[in-house]
């Protein structure tokens, strides 16, 4: 009898342990498969902020940062959200497919892709990944490694940023832009001739700081068009937000090594979990880079002796959202280390957001558009607002129409200049409006 009792007790214990293990393993699965976008915090418990640029790199880890979520407010644009949170516009759009860049729906949560897999390159000096449009600046004393990361604008398809090793050979604050012949020719064709040199100031596309690279003609510099960060919009240079280039400039000595790589498919691990981060590849570089990724994954599978979830890998590849996605547990129990996105408060003021001065009756204006659709009007106004240098613009409702009014401008010269820029840059035929009260 006693024997029977012992046996049933131990069987009960065994069942309890089995149940406990089962629950634990289920929790692990949920963590590993967590969908980016679901916040870890309940509404009303929002984080005041999140680290955007500076991270420490744990030994053996390749993944830094954490995903976050913020709820949009009326009047927000994705470029404003991107700049405030230290992201490029392409990265933010890719992480939030279907969200209107210029007129997103208020109240909608957007993912801030503030987690990055470090590029597969030596961790020293500056590494720029043109495919992810991100710069990494490594700092370390041998014992610990830290990295600062900033979004960049890179070269166009016609004038791509060249990859390979280089170094910073010269630095300049308030640089003068010596206009290259090819760019001068482009502008002449557009009817917007440039001088041979553009002095420092709001018209200078280099911004306030420049790091000249040993690769002749290529620079890492600031910009007078902050909304271009995260776009393929340069002539091969790499441009940063004004606030980022200032920090990088002050932190980078001459002779710093710079490695420019093109890695749209990134594989890395953190706390025993393997992550895959996929970006839409630049033109003509997709297939060979994809083959490299599959080769690496096959090698990892062989080494682990367990099958990878190839279906999930293909999903991540197809979606190309630029977010590190956990795809494999390298060691048991490690799945619990995958952090959920952090929901952050919407800031009172988005840093770098273009200011729109109050209406003045004694100022000049330019009617940029008169449309029936409010969304169209708001989009046009937002695009004009984000020009560099900025042109203030607002939407005025008039009966069933919506008018986009650029201004105020102090004098007719400024207003005419705005008309010219609207025509050349955005193909908008603006109409000059003289002051109501002179």
């Amino acid at each position: 009898m006693c024997r029977f009792a012992d046996l049933s007790l131990s069987a009960g214990c065994f069942r309890l342990i089995a149940l406990w293990l089962c629950i634990l393993s289920l929790q692990g699965c949920a963590a590993l498969q967590s969908v980016p976008g679901k916040s870890a915090l309940a509404p009303g418990h929002l984080a005041a902020g999140i680290e955007r640029n500076d991270f420490s790199v744990a030994k053996g880890d390749d993944v830094i940062g954490r995903l976050a979520v913020v709820r949009l407010e009326k009047g927000d644009t994705l470029p404003d959200i991107a700049r405030h949170f230290g992201l490029g516009i392409t990265a933010l759009s890719a992480a939030n497919p279907g969200v209107d860049v210029w007129v997103p729906e208020a109240g909608k949560p957007v993912i801030l892709p503030l987690s990055f897999i470090l590029p597969d390159a030596p961790r020293r000096g500056i590494v720029v990944n043109v495919a992810t449009m991100r710069l990494f600046q490594y700092k370390g004393d041998g014992k610990s490694l830290a990295v600062s990361t900033y979004p960049v604008g890179v070269g166009t398809k016609e004038r791509p940023t060249p990859t390979g090793p280089t170094r910073v050979y010269r630095k300049a604050a308030r640089p003068t832009w010596h206009v290259p012949a090819s760019i001068a020719e482009d502008h002449r064709k557009k009817g917007d001739p440039l001088p041979a040199e553009v002095p420092p100031g709001p018209e200078n596309p280099l911004g306030e700081y420049a790091l000249y690279l040993s690769k002749p003609g290529y620079l890492i510099h600031g910009t007078n068009k902050p909304a271009s960060i995260g776009l393929k919009a340069t002539n091969g240079c790499m441009r940063l937000y004004p606030e980022n280039i200032e920090v990088l400039f002050n932190d980078t000595p001459v002779n710093t090594p710079v490695a420019i790589v093109n890695q749209p498919y990134l594989i890395g691990q953190r706390n025993g979990v393997l992550y895959l981060e996929v970006h839409t590849p630049l033109e003509d570089s997709g297939a060979p880079e994809l083959e490299k990724m599959y080769e690496k994954l096959r090698a990892i599978e062989k080494k682990a002796g367990r099958p990878l979830d190839w279906k999930k890998i293909r999903e991540v590849q197809t979606e190309a959202r630029g977010i590190p996605v956990p795809i494999f547990k390298l060691r048991q129990g490690s799945e619990q280390e995958v952090a959920n996105p952090l929901e952050v408060e919407h800031p009172d003021k988005l840093s770098g957001r273009p200011e729109i001065p109050d209406l003045k009756l004694d100022a000049w204006y330019v009617l940029a558009a008169d449309v029936r659709n409010e969304i169209d009007a708001r989009r046009i106004a937002a695009i004009i607002n984000h020009q560099g240098p900025p042109i203030p613009a607002r939407v005025l409702a008039k009966n069933d129409d919506y008018r986009v009014l650029a201004g105020p401008f102090a004098d007719i010269g400024e207003a005419r200049d705005a008309v010219k820029r609207l025509k050349i840059d955005l193909e908008i035929d603006g109409i000059l409006i003289d002051p109501v009260r002179k």
């Binding site: 209107d100 166009t156 840059d425």
Partner: protein, 100 residues
């Protein structure tokens, strides 16, 4: 013999006459029945035609509603496509404007 023949003839004529009388009565009845049946058939045909007309009208209405719904969907899709196109065009112009 004559008498026998007459008897036979009478025996033949009488029933024939009687049969004739019975057929006329029946015929009238049949004709009356047929008339009623005709009326009923006519009514049924009319009813069927009315039902068919009603069904046709309902089908036409349904087809019209379907067509209108299809058109509304197409219009909405077209509107969405135009909005998408406008957004893409605006975005392309913006990206171009961001070059040096």
């Amino acid at each position: 013999m004559k008498g026998t023949l007459l008897l036979i003839a009478m025996m033949l004529v009488l029933p024939v006459t009687m049969i004739g009388c019975a057929t006329t009565g029946e015929l009238e009845k049949v004709q009356a029945d047929q008339k009623m049946l005709d009326a009923k058939v006519e009514q049924a045909v009319q009813d069927a035609q009315a039902a068919k007309a009603a069904a046709d009208a309902a089908k036409a209405k349904a087809d019209d509603a379907t067509a209108r719904a299809d058109n509304a969907i197409k219009a909405a899709e077209e509107k969405e496509r135009i909005a998408d196109e406008k957004a893409k065009k605006a975005d392309a112009a913006f990206q171009k404007s961001m070059r040096k």
